[in-house]
């Protein structure tokens, strides 16, 4: 029973990781940029979620505001911060991204205050029994939300012309452009989708903790990097599996390795182990 409960808790955490890491891997696949500031959009998504829910009483409306708003901000970040740096070596964009992330954290603190925000009447806090295990509605919603959103993204990538164009651009941008794909538009769409998913993750984490803090993105900012490396940098399917696996491993690790290894260290121990055995990542091609 405990084992099953830990598995479920791991999947909840893994769903959050997946929603955040998918956006990162999209950006990396397309531009070879490690987009650290992505975690800032995750945090801001959480803030918007709490503020809109507190103002209107509707969590759904909050998601509908936070996701497109962060999507547009993601495009904004690409155009103002990364696009001008594309001709430079990748570490230039990485440094810009880290700087942007620090600035975002401090702006959140200045604007929203150091104490963080909470829901005045937190939605989805009742418990439901799932196969005999008690889960918060918010935890269930997190898992279902992740499945729906990432499933939708998979459909978009595999079944639509935009998806095909996007995959073609990842494989060979010059060739794709020669075939008439508007690369700038593909990049915008990728940033939009990835950032919107991060915003959804932010709202979900706000619900789970009933707390959004300026530094909420600091752990995801580096853990998501470990996840996309594990998943084989730019590989969507690999990223998903790595995210869920890490969530579950952390859940068991917290209980059985907690005295030896910090929860956040588990990700990196796992990363080192995988890279020693499979340097291309769990699912990357050699």
């Amino acid at each position: 029973m405990l084992a099953f409960e830990l598995l479920l808790q791991g999947l909840v955490q893994g769903s959050i990781y997946a929603l955040i890491a998918v956006g990162l891997t999209l950006v990396y696949g397309l531009l070879r940029i490690l987009h650290v500031a992505h975690a800032g959009l995750f945090t801001l998504g959480g803030y918007i979620g709490v503020i809109v829910t507190n103002a209107t009483g509707s969590l759904l409306l909050a998601l509908l505001v936070a996701m497109p708003a962060m999507g547009l901000l993601g495009i904004g970040i690409y155009r103002t911060c990364y696009q001008p740096l594309l001709s430079r070596p990748p570490y230039v964009a990485l440094i810009a991204s880290i700087g942007l992330f620090i600035m975002m954290e401090e702006l959140f603190r200045l604007i929203f205050g150091p104490y963080g925000l909470s829901f005045t009447a937190p939605p989805l806090q009742d418990t439901v029994a799932v196969f005999g295990v008690n889960l918060k509605e918010a935890e269930l919603a997190t898992m279902i939300g992740a499945v729906v959103l990432i499933g939708g993204l998979a459909l978009l990538t595999l079944r639509t012309r935009i998806g095909t164009a996007s995959r073609a651009t990842v494989t060979d941008p010059k060739m794709a452009e020669a075939f008439g794909v508007n690369i700038g538009r593909i990049r915008d769409i990728n940033f939009f989708v990835g950032s919107a998913l991060a915003a959804a993750a932010g709202v979900m984490v706000a619900l789970l903790n009933n707390l959004v803090e300026p530094t909420m993105g600091s752990v995801p900012s580096y853990k998501a990097l470990a996840i996309i490396v594990l998943g084989g940098l730019g590989d969507l399917r690999g990223t998903l599996i790595a995210a869920l696996a890490l969530g579950v491993i952390e859940a068991y690790g917290t209980i059985y390795l907690g005295n030896l290894l910090d929860r956040d260290a588990i990700a990196f121990a796992f990363l080192i182990a995988v890279l020693m055995l499979r340097p291309q990542g769990l699912f990357g091609r050699a």
Binding site: Q9, V12, Q13, R88, S118, N209, T215, T254, I255, G258
Partner: protein, 387 residues
């Protein structure tokens, strides 16, 4: 392309420059400078802000009452981000550039411990408002502390659970930093004395907000009570997740919970949570009553433990300056050591090591507010380390 980067840098420089001006701009010719390092940015900014407002309040109150030895008190404030790296240069700056006569830490243990060495070496008295690490006062005879070391509060927690509540099978959930570890050590030290059996212990890091796996395991351990260390931003999610996981045994915390924000985060789940702390909301003492009212008016939110501690530390500094009647560091130090003072956190005095002697306030959440549960007044159990 470089232009963007330059703009960003310039913006950042502008921000920090304006902050510095704001902090030190109010220089007066005839004033006594008191230094304070507090986290105003970074993860500990919330506690730092409360502590600073508490300290500012004490300074304003002193100035309104004619100042100190005919001069006004002036606070010199630096942001240490609760980081030992920043604390050392800040301490050096306060000593050498600002030439403060006495300084206060409104910061956590790492930063306070690092700064304490600098102040000790320079012979400038330094008072830690709420950092718990035992090594801080061991830096030397110029370093004092107005809060409990973690071990003392941990022992008080054991008495509260084993004796007052009569719970014997206890699970520890320990925050993996000096604060949590020293609380757990104190708790374990005294557990046997109060007939407590520690059936399990789990550790978590300060960045954790998701405790699902620990909650699942604690449920299967079925303890009579849970002793969980943490700050309001970890304890809020923890308590709410324990309760929604179906665990309804008493949860006992400590001063890290002591904030209205804890109740806001945990919501209904916070009802009945009991903590050991330094501020009694239902106190009859005029000091505590005045502070609680004045802080809420100045800050716009309810007083908490760190605010009261910042206020107390500043009050000690001012009282020592008055008592010494001069700005000689040695005289100020001796004045602190000999002080007995009524403050918002109780009647305080210091032992030979510079550790505070006072009662432990036990508070409980009732109807969405902190209220008095009891007071632990046991000089033997609460004796701070002497060396």
């Amino acid at each position: 392309m470089q232009e963007n980067f330059i703009k960003a840098t310039a913006f950042a420089a502008l921000l920090s420059a304006s902050a510095a001006v704001g902090l030190t701009g109010a220089a007066q010719a005839d004033s006594i400078k008191i230094g304070i390092n507090v986290p105003q940015t970074g993860f500990a900014a919330a506690d730092g802000t409360s502590a600073l407002i508490g300290a500012q309040l004490a300074a304003e109150q002193a100035n309104a009452n004619g100042g100190v030895n005919g001069k006004n008190v002036e606070l010199v404030v630096y942001d240490d981000q609760a980081s030992p790296k920043s604390a050392v240069p800040i301490a050096t700056k306060l000593v050498e550039q600002d030439e403060v006569k006495i300084a206060i830490s409104g910061s956590y243990s790492g930063a306070t411990r690092a700064a304490a060495g600098v102040f000790q070496e320079a012979g400038v008295p330094y008072i830690s408002a709420f950092a718990v690490h035992p090594e801080i006062t061991r830096s030397g005879d110029y370093v004092f502390r107005t809060s409990f070391v973690g071990e003392v509060q941990g022992r008080a927690g054991a008495k509260l659970i084993g004796e007052s509540l009569g719970k014997k099978k206890v699970t520890l959930i320990t925050l993996k930093n000096d604060f949590g570890q020293s609380l757990a050590n104190g708790f374990k030290e005294a557990a046997e004395q109060f007939g407590i059996e520690i059936i399990s212990e789990y550790e978590y890091s300060i960045k954790d907000r998701q405790f699902g796996p620990i909650v699942a395991k604690v449920k299967s351990d079925a303890p009579d009570a849970i002793y969980a260390s943490g700050y309001f931003f970890t304890a809020g999610p923890l308590v709410s997740q324990l309760r929604s996981g179906g665990i309804d045994v008493p949860v006992i915390g400590q001063e890290g919970y002591d904030s209205q924000k804890f109740i806001e985060i945990a919501g209904g789940a916070s009802e009945g949570v009991i903590i050991t702390t330094s501020l009694d909301r239902d106190s009859d003492s005029p000091e505590a009553k005045d502070f609680i009212a004045a802080f809420e008016e100045k800050a716009g939110y309810k007083a908490d433990m760190v605010a009261a501690s910042g206020h107390t530390a500043m009050k000690v500094a001012i009282a020592a300056l008055r008592e010494a009647g001069s700005e000689d560091p040695k005289a100020i130090r001796d004045a602190i050591a000999g002080l007995t003072l009524e403050a918002s956190t109780g009647t305080i005095s210091f032992n030979g090591l510079g550790e505070v002697r006072k009662d432990v306030q036990v508070q409980v959440v009732k109807d969405g507010n902190w209220h008095r549960h009891s007071i632990i007044s046991d000089p033997d159990l609460l004796a701070p380390p002497e060396k």
